[in-house]
């Protein structure tokens, strides 16, 4: 392969069936089991992320239904305290770590290259690695629970309750190292999004033209790079305290119980924003399509996304208002926690204005997106209330906070995600989802959610603490809990209707065509489902709404072009562009199917298992396997152009 290959000037041409056929051969994943394990196609990986995350959502939901039965009336004994504790801990772990983050990674993985006019993510093998680690970490995290030793001290895992002295079993070791493993997946995934954002946007897509979903995910990814180390470190130190005799968190030996809380929430609060900002981005991009106009205030909404994240790093102490911190720091963090509502207000008013000045089209996706605005507002104001320290001292650790966090996580994550599924399903599978069933799906979920979770505000104000496995008859919490339980089951029926609709529409949904919603962005310019190479020639973009340009009545003579552009077909190739203006810059040689990522992920899992069991032999084996896998990964390859000199002076 000639060294000039990267710097050759590609021809500009129009897409032809011949070219499409050649690209298909170059980019198609191999068939069979090998292909299944070796694929690096972002669309395949994205769908796996989404499906795996939904499996975890359903598991977490079943756990919740079981303990809602236990709580539906006073003094019930459906569960033992130990069972209850494992269930609520695993429920939190599942929803927060194994569903909410990964499902958004899935959508972004699938959609980003399509939205950006690219062939794939910047680092396809890293992408595969991130999925496999996520899957294996999920299995590790569930392995303890499956054999009766699930984590049992809450997803926040406070010490000293999580220390060896009060928790002798393997429960916490599994949780701690499973989380460290999962953190690697999130970290490499985030790096991939950041690099893709900077280098893979098609020509013309300057950073003020990328969809808001891209802003949401890149912001969340940047935050993860800073936030994940805190929690991975905390869990590693905890594992050391428990297994090799250190005392980082042991107050009786000079350690500090508060250290855990700071490390955990320095991660934990930014993470909350990381698992809602991309979902808010989905709404910012999807809602305007059904309002038949561009989003009101694009620039302000993009800036608000970033601002939320920056402020999000300065509010972690609001999880710790009752830990006896001095008044000055309480005042600071209280003010920050209240002010962070401002960028959220930007979003809310931008969405409202978009609907108000638009002509809303009532599809199921629209209903999910529009209802999200209300749920977000309810979750937002209850957050504002708990942001006020003196009020929080009453509300914290009661069901009021349970209500708040579910309005945030279900309202801002699940509702937009289901809306997004209705919106992009036709692109993923070439078929439309059933709209009639969709209405049933929406109204059941909406009613079930509010019947289930709104009363929790009341039980919280009535003084019901969180994480109690039962309560006395005289407390007056019976009816409100019964209503909550009924609502949660109704909500579960709604989720089942969604799953049913997916299965049904996969089989016999109406054909979708390229662009069923007449939407403006690049993913809708490809066939549904898209070909393995996404775009036969590299598109050029002249505005935020490439497919609406001719109808938005602008005088701008520049037009986006899809179907005529740079031809890159000498092997798997993609175009690298400059970070701000997206000018063509370099031809990237992209990797083909490879088993290395899945092997590396397996090797890391072996190391994790060895450390969980404190079996140094297995751990050493894991390290050796990791070294071999990384060696294979980095071995120079001719097809990636890693064996030839590049001339820099040409």
């Amino acid at each position: 392969m000639a060294s000039t290959d990267y710097e050759r000037r590609p021809t500009v041409d129009t897409e032809t069936p011949d070219l499409a056929e050649r690209l298909k051969r170059l980019w198609e994943t191999a068939p069979g089991l090998y292909g299944w394990l070796a694929t690096v196609d972002h669309k395949e990986i994205g769908l796996r992320y989404i499906i795996t995350a939904f499996v975890f959502l359903i598991l977490g939901g079943i756990e919740a239904l079981v303990f809602r039965l236990q709580l539906s009336w006073s003094n019930l004994h459906i569960l033992t305290p130990e069972q209850y504790d494992q269930l609520f801990t695993v429920h939190g772990m599942t929803m927060i770590f194994l569903y909410a983050g990964p499902v958004l990674s899935g959508f972004s993985n699938y959609l980003w290259p399509m939205l950006l006019g690219a062939r794939d993510m910047a680092l396809p093998r890293l992408n595969a690695l991130s999925y496999w680690i996520y899957l294996f970490a999920g299995i590790v995290l569930y392995s303890g629970f499956a054999v009766g030793f699930g984590p049992n001290v809450g997803w926040f895992n406070y010490v000293p309750l999580a220390a060896r002295a009060y928790n002798d079993g393997p429960n916490i070791d599994v949780y701690a190292l499973g989380m460290v493993l999962l953190g690697i997946s999130t970290t490499v995934g985030s790096i991939n999004f950041i690099v893709t954002f900077l280098r893979m946007r098609c020509p013309g897509m300057s950073i003020n033209r990328v969809p808001i979903l891209v802003w949401g995910t890149v912001t969340a990814s940047a935050a993860n790079i800073f936030a994940i180390p805190a929690v991975s470190l905390a869990f590693l130190l905890l594992w050391m305290d428990r297994n090799v005799g250190t005392h980082f968190f042991d107050a009786t030996a000079g350690g500090s119980a508060m250290l855990w809380q700071h490390l955990f929430w320095m991660f934990g609060h930014p993470w909350v924003y990381a698992i809602v900002l991309p979902a808010m981005g989905m709404v910012s991009d999807g809602l305007p399509v059904f309002c038949r106009r561009p989003l009101v205030g694009y620039s302000v909404v993009a800036l608000a996304t970033v601002a939320t994240m920056v402020l999000g790093f300065g509010v972690w102490v609001h999880h710790m208002f009752a830990t006896g911190l001095p008044g000055v720091s309480l005042s600071f963090f209280s003010a920050a926690s209240i002010i962070i509502a401002l960028p959220s207000a930007v979003g809310v008013f931008a969405w409202l204005a978009t609907i108000w000045t638009g002509r809303p089209v009532f599809t199921t996706a629209f209903l999910f997106f529009a209802s999200f605005i209300l749920l977000f507002t309810i979750g937002g104001v209850s957050g504002y209330m708990t942001g006020s320290v003196p009020v929080d001292w009453q509300l914290t650790d009661t069901y009021f906070v349970v209500a708040h966090l579910h309005y945030v996580l279900i309202g801002i994550n699940v509702f937009p995600v289901v809306g997004a599924a209705y919106f992009w399903f036709p692109k993923f599978f070439g078929r439309l989802m059933d709209e009639r069933l969709g209405r049933w799906n929406f109204w059941t979920m909406f009613a079930g959610f509010n019947i289930g979770f709104f009363p929790m505000h009341i039980s919280g104000l009535l003084g019901m603490p969180r994480r109690i496995y039962t309560y006395g008859d005289g407390m007056g919490w019976n009816w409100v809990n019964l209503i909550t339980t009924i609502g949660s089951f109704l909500f579960a029926v709604g989720v089942l209707l969604f799953v049913w609709n997916v299965v049904k529409s996969l089989r016999n949904g109406a054909a979708a065509g390229e662009n069923p919603w007449d939407a403006p962005t690049l993913e809708w310019a490809t066939s549904s489902p898209p070909p393995p190479y996404n775009f036969a020639v590299i598109p050029t973009v002249a505005s935020r709404h490439p497919l609406w340009e001719d109808r938005l009545g602008r005088a701008d003579p520049q037009r986006s072009v899809v179907g005529h552009g740079l031809v890159l077909a000498q092997g798997r190739e993609a175009l690298g562009t400059t970070p701000l203006d997206a000018e063509p810059n370099v031809i990237l040689k992209m990797p083909a199917d490879t088993l290395v990522p899945v092997c590396l992920a397996l090797a890391m899992t072996v190391l994790t298992g060895g450390l969980i069991l404190v079996n140094w032999l297995v751990a050493t084996l894991g390290i050796v396997l990791i070294a071999i896998a990384i060696g294979a990964w980095l071995w120079p390859s001719a097809t990636l152009g890693e064996t030839a000199e590049v001339s820099r002076d040409g």
């Binding site: 504790d85 009786t252 006896g324 089209v361």
Partner: protein, 301 residues
């Protein structure tokens, strides 16, 4: 009191925000609906105009409300950080799995221990020093004050004041293990004189009739004294609650059982059944030992 106003304030603001946004959302949706979608066909589009006024107005108004809330919060926080007058009573409360150890401190060094029931004088500032005896717990008496955590390795101070006599329910609110749900306590607010009388009594040794003591005290010390203490006897354990004046208390086992003879017998027979995982074992006792110990405990007045 300032906390109550603040709470109502932010609650009303919150409700108002929800109502306004819901109203605007409903109006926006049903104001002028568009045509239904025909999959794959191009639909009418509106130009990228207007709507920015919503942002200026909405965000401007939100900014004002949020700033006022911040100032109000910080003001109330400063007001309640320290009480208006000097505390009259200082009590050290230690959260343990799963009960509350209460220690009354006294300037003359004559303090005493009790458990799960905190007596305070009405109308006086009471300073609380909170400690975590094993894991983290949180002290909450909703009618008297907000929560404050009891954390191992540090002493958190807070204060309470009851303006009316009565019994106030409290509960642990930081998840602390299997029996977190059953870590209740009570605060009993009494008029000054009554409180003083209670204090004096706590300082004395229990007056157990000689016949009862003869039958039960020795068994108690042997079987229970390793963990529990009773003033004036050799029972001086500190793992479990001090039982010197057990019969003065209203509840057993940290608020989960009424203090009645039948409940006491039930608790001694099966502590692990009533509160699985707690530190008290079901001690093997002969019939006579059991009867003697129960009678002895029922005399701890």
């Amino acid at each position: 009191m300032p906390v109550v106003w603040l709470t109502w304030g932010v609650l009303l603001i919150s409700v108002a925000v929800i109502v306004i946004i819901a109203g605007l959302l409903g109006a926006a949706i049903w104001r002028r609906p568009g045509m239904p979608v025909v999959a794959g066909e191009k639909m009418a589009l509106l130009p990228d105009e207007g709507g920015l006024r919503w942002l200026w107005l909405g965000v401007g108004l939100s900014t004002a409300v949020l700033l006022i809330s911040v100032i109000w919060t910080v003001k109330v926080l400063a007001d309640i950080q320290s009480p208006a007058s000097r505390p009259g009573v200082i009590i050290e409360v230690t959260g343990r799995q799963w009960w509350w150890q209460v220690r009354y401190l006294s300037a003359d060094g004559r303090g005493f221990y009790t458990a799960n029931e905190i007596h305070i004088p009405v109308g006086e500032i009471v300073r609380l020093k909170l400690l975590g005896g094993d894991v983290i717990h949180s002290f909450w008496v909703p009618q008297l004050a907000g929560k404050m955590d009891a954390i191992p390795g540090q002493i958190n101070e807070t204060w309470i004041e009851a303006s009316r006599p009565g019994t106030y329910q409290g509960q642990c609110t930081e998840y602390c293990g299997a029996e977190h749900s059953k870590m209740l306590f009570q605060v009993v607010a009494q008029p000054r004189a009554e409180f003083r009388a209670w204090w004096k009594r706590q300082l004395s040794s229990p007056s157990v009739p000689a016949s009862v003591a003869a039958n039960g005290e020795k068994s108690f010390v042997e079987n229970c004294g390793g963990c529990h203490s009773v003033r004036g006897t050799e029972a001086a354990g500190s793992l479990g609650p001090d039982l010197s004046h057990l019969m003065q208390r209203r509840t057993l086992a940290s608020g989960i059982l009424p203090n009645e003879p039948s409940m006491l017998a039930k608790w001694i027979a099966d502590p692990q059944g009533l509160k699985p995982g707690n530190l008290m074992p079901a001690v093997k006792l002969s019939q006579t030992e059991r009867a003697g110990i129960t009678a002895y405990l029922l005399a701890l007045n």
